[in-house]
Subunit: 445 residues, 2 copies
């Protein structure tokens, strides 16, 4: 985090310098695309200096470095406050926010693509990108909502068709885009068009697919969303703080301002604060209950008997620790929420692998000589600058849930059963009844 | 098909011409990357003239144009014969072939990427691409085989772990590649490395994901694989033949040698020959039976009571046709295999949308000024040149099956229910009972 901030201050001149340097050597340059990339740096959104006027006026007396520090700080807390407000707003608010963030991120990535390949004369391409965004959202959101709203959907006739043929409809929509792309090919621009086509698809892969995973996590219970997101934020902030005060040993060439001290300090803080946060949240049904559609109530609910993950459980300590506890005559068991163990894995991932998401984004920005992905958040750059690691984390959490938490739940299967035709549901019911009676699990009545 | 062949003959000089032209105008050129692309055309595999020596000697007396025609013809029939042989070899042979084709296609796409971005000094990158190929294959093939070999796998302890945590293991493997990529970033090559990273991922998306879909289709029954593949081949060949004899009206700028006559003639032939072929294959269990693991036999079987799709069924003709049949005193019903209707949809797709896969590939080749993707098949170019449309078709068939053939069967769901713990099965049973009673489908007893 610190790395981005500092580049923000000093980079405008650095970029210009780079451009000049390259012009001198462009004749023998091995790096063919470099010159154009450097030139294009000027046409790209270089944001971050865009500050609200009132704030600008109030801070005008401060030196540049501090002014930026204050702006960045203010907007960090504003974002955290906003995040809390959205959580208070409930799951629907969170999903809408995810969607908005996704669209903004896609826009930022695509805008960089346009600037890199400098396509101005091809009006179809902008429409095509957005068309693919809508199509893939239709596909992914459909897959999500279908599962959870099965009961409602099955009551309405035409919605049923949309569900049954969801994949086919999505595929047809995609094919329309594909044919449209092929027809839009213009000889002069072949290479640029194909590059942008690939660019769009990679953007979709990163942004849309992963925001779909985020929505899935939200449905598992708000805790699966809030804890990982907060861990990344905590890790970012604490790495910055530790780096600022104790940073000495450089960590990686890619981000010269990141230090081992920040990395380790941030990691330890993430584990501790993550556990603390999880412990508190485990106690509220609002956070731990999966979001389900209740047929009885006719609406979404977040009320449940918390699963065993969120009920305190006694664990026997490993033997090596038991020798210590015996010495002090302590108990050889601990009582914790099992979720805390999962919280531990997540915090380790977010502090060890998470930063690589940041390195990746920062390498990407350097590759195309841009400082930030956009200029939406004063002091922070674009939305994508704040969410680069979140996407990686969301995928981890999703895979983690499906591997360790979610071994085929009756609830999910039931939802699939409700998707069947009524007579098929009855058939399944009868077969199941017979099978259960057969195995003596059910008393014949 | 004709388009590729003809370019093959005359293009060597055309490419050189282009390069010269561009050098004249490169100062004001709007197309920044063009010059390098042209130059690189010389370093890329331009294949196709690579012919076995014996054949070369035997055909040396023929004029160039005819020589190529004969070579291409010979290898077309050789490939068709090879395809039949592999089908005779059974599903395992087909799956292995799919895997080999996939690896070759990936190699061809990646090789073009290397040539385009001229990366020679970065040894890690080649390893990385292959690592990602292996990882994604592990993930996709695992997902496939898990479903079909569930019974066998559950018997072996360590395999069970691989299955339960399959996604997690795959994700970890991917993360290793991701971190490796970030660590391999070198300042000088940032942009090239990111471009190749994207290139690799798009290649994976096209090649690995779709070959996974192909394998899924094979499991549904060989007919779902053989018919679509043959349709694309028939369409290619017949479009060439019709274009050769009657071609007059150009179809699309992208492929100047393709004509409306070829497009329409090819389409009609595909529908007719596709139906004929489906009709014949419907009668053999070898083709229509899904591939399943039989617990009783302890091995894979392709024996079954053919599903209703492959049993002749009586259809009433639509009213407009009935007036005609009444005139001639014919029956107002027809008896056909329901599969023939699906075959019709597939042949329409393969002849209307299929060619766009070809246009896309041919646009791609033009964008990077290459004639063919490789030089493996004399007269045809690379493997990818022959399989471009197959991938699009395979996706269509897969989506088609999941939407129209495979609408969640009670049988499959029950199988999943039986995999739950006994108490979960009871819970599901009770909830289902309540839901069905609630909706009045079940009488409360």
């Amino acid at each position: 985090m610190s790395e981005i901030r500092k580049r923000t201050v000093g980079d405008a001149s650095a970029v210009t310098q780079d451009v000049n340097d390259d012009h001198k050597e462009d004749v023998e340059s091995e790096d063919d695309g470099k010159i154009e990339v450097d030139l294009l740096a000027k046409t790209l959104p270089q944001g971050t200096n865009h500050t609200p006027e009132i704030l600008d006026a109030a801070l005008s007396s401060l030196p540049d470095r501090w002014r930026n520090w204050v702006i960045r700080g203010i907007f960090t807390w504003l974002m955290i406050a906003g995040f809390c407000l959205i959580i208070y707003g409930g799951p629907l608010a969170l999903m809408v926010t995810t969607l908005i963030v996704q669209v903004k991120c896609f826009e930022e990535i695509i805008n960089i693509g346009y600037a890199v390949y400098r396509i101005h004369g091809l009006p179809w391409f902008r429409s095509l990108s957005w068309y693919f965004l809508i199509t893939s959202n239709y596909f992914f959101y459909g897959e999500n909502l279908m599962d959870y709203f099965a009961v409602v959907i099955n009551r309405t006739g035409y919605l049923r068709i949309l569900v049954t043929y969801h994949r086919f409809i999505s595929f047809c929509l995609y094919i329309v885009g594909f044919v449209w792309f092929v027809l839009s090919l213009v000889k002069k621009y072949y290479m640029k068009q194909f590059s942008l086509f690939a660019w769009t698809h990679v953007a979709l892969l990163i942004v849309v697919m992963q925001s779909y995973l985020i929505i899935q996590n939200i449905f598992e219970g708000l805790i699966w969303f809030i804890v990982p997101v907060s861990m990344i934020v905590i890790n970012d902030m604490m790495a910055y703080v530790f780096g600022f005060f104790f940073g000495r040993t450089p960590l990686i060439k890619l981000s010269p301002k990141k230090t081992w001290e920040g990395f380790i300090g941030g990691g330890i803080s993430t584990v501790i604060l993550g556990l603390l946060m999880s412990y508190v949240m485990c106690q509220y049904r609002y956070f731990v209950c999966p979001i389900e559609y209740s047929e009885a109530l006719g609406r979404m609910t977040m009320d449940c008997e918390p699963s065993s993950l969120f009920r305190p459980q006694e664990y026997t300590l490993p033997e090596c620790l038991q020798t210590i506890t015996k010495m002090f005559n302590w108990k050889s068991t601990v009582t914790v929420y099992p979720f805390l163990l999962h919280s531990l894995s997540m915090s380790v991932f977010s502090s060890v692998i998470g930063p690589f998401g940041g390195f990746f984004a920062s390498g990407f920005k350097r590759a195309f000589k841009i400082k930030d992905f956009g200029d939406v958040i004063p002091g922070h750059g674009g939305i994508m600058d704040r969410f680069d690691c979140q996407y990686l984390m969301a995928t981890f959490v999703n895979v983690y849930i499906s591997s360790f938490i979610h071994t085929a739940s009756p609830q999910k299967l039931l939802q699939q059963v409700y998707n069947l035709k009524p007579e098929q549901q009855l058939q399944l019911y009868n077969t199941l009844q017979a099978a259960l009676e057969n195995r003596g699990l059910l008393n014949e009545s």
